[in-house]
Symmetry: C2
DNA sequence: CCGAATTTGTAGCCTCGACTACATTTTGGT
DNA sequence: ACCAAAATGTAGTCGAGGCTACAAATTCGG
């Protein structure tokens, strides 16, 4: 029966492959979301307090300190952070660069949401999840929209 | 046994706790994202082909059939779907209702992205991830924006 | 109607991200 | 200086969500 499902399908229905690809993109974006949030948070702590302790990261992120330490270990594995036992966490140049990109993107997303009428606190909350799924093309559009309205 | 949230000190919630709360929201949204996508996909397949087979779901979602079957088992556990061996998958009333909500939300997000200038294909791809992190307050704002511009 | 192809199901393995419990190290108060 | 508290690290467990390999059921072509 699966003969001509393409012809019979709705015109606006995506092809199988295209849809699978989009779902895959969303999944892979999710796999880096945690790292992005950690790097951004650590960068903020370093800037505001001069140091980023695992306990602080855990409290700000809302997880146990053991969880934070394991995620920090993953950051180190991925070359984004460094740390020595009982000293704070620091970012590598790659980590700093990522933090900067993530911070700018976060702000852009919040600004866009506010610009289209989302209440500020909702915008801030939603952006925390949305930011990880916004493509560069969308960010460009957001910038243009914010500049030109 | 959901742990109770202490949302008492409303007026000026500490930045630290507020941030932790936002991160927690994003995490919990992510935990339901997969179920939402499956339910929406199954609903589409049921509407367009009259049936939703595990193999079709797997191919459209871009995962192995074993993975799809396991996720469908989770849908059944959560009361969103039903199925009998070697028959297709169907949605419970709860599942249908969720699919409808998710489908409308998906469209709204795409429309909003396009309205602020995001290219259509980027909008469609980004929406697949973004949709799961858009609050009702934001959706209301999106509707108003689309209606009133 | 029957054998082969397809579909479906099961089992076992992996990584990630969460937790608790406990061990160790550092820090701070007296 | 010392002991207690806090911070940090480690170990073990869990469920979700992937995978591959294999087994069983169903559907189809001849
Ligand atoms: Mn985030
Ligand atoms: Mn962020
Ligand atoms: Mn989606
Ligand atoms: Mn969707």
């Amino acid at each position: 029966m699966a003969k001509q499902e393409r012809a019979a399908a709705r015109p606006d229905m995506p092809t199988e492959a295209a849809q699978a690809h989009r779902f895959g993109k969303a999944r892979s974006a999710q796999s880096t979301a945690l790292l992005e949030d950690y790097v951004e948070l650590i960068s903020d702590l370093l800037a505001s307090a001069g140091e980023a302790r695992p306990t602080d990261v855990a409290r700000r992120f809302g997880v146990s300190h053991a969880t934070a330490i394991k995620t920090i270990a993953r950051l180190k594995r991925e070359g984004l952070a460094t740390s020595k036992p009982y000293r704070g966490v620091f970012l590598t140049p790659d980590g700093e660069a990522l933090a900067e990109r993530v911070r700018n993107r976060h702000r852009l997303v919040v600004d866009l949401l506010v610009a289209v009428g989302v209440p500020a606190d909702s915008a801030e909350a939603d952006a925390e999840g949305i930011e990880h799924h916004v493509s560069d093309a969308a960010l460009d559009a957001f910038r243009d929209f914010l500049a030109g309205r």
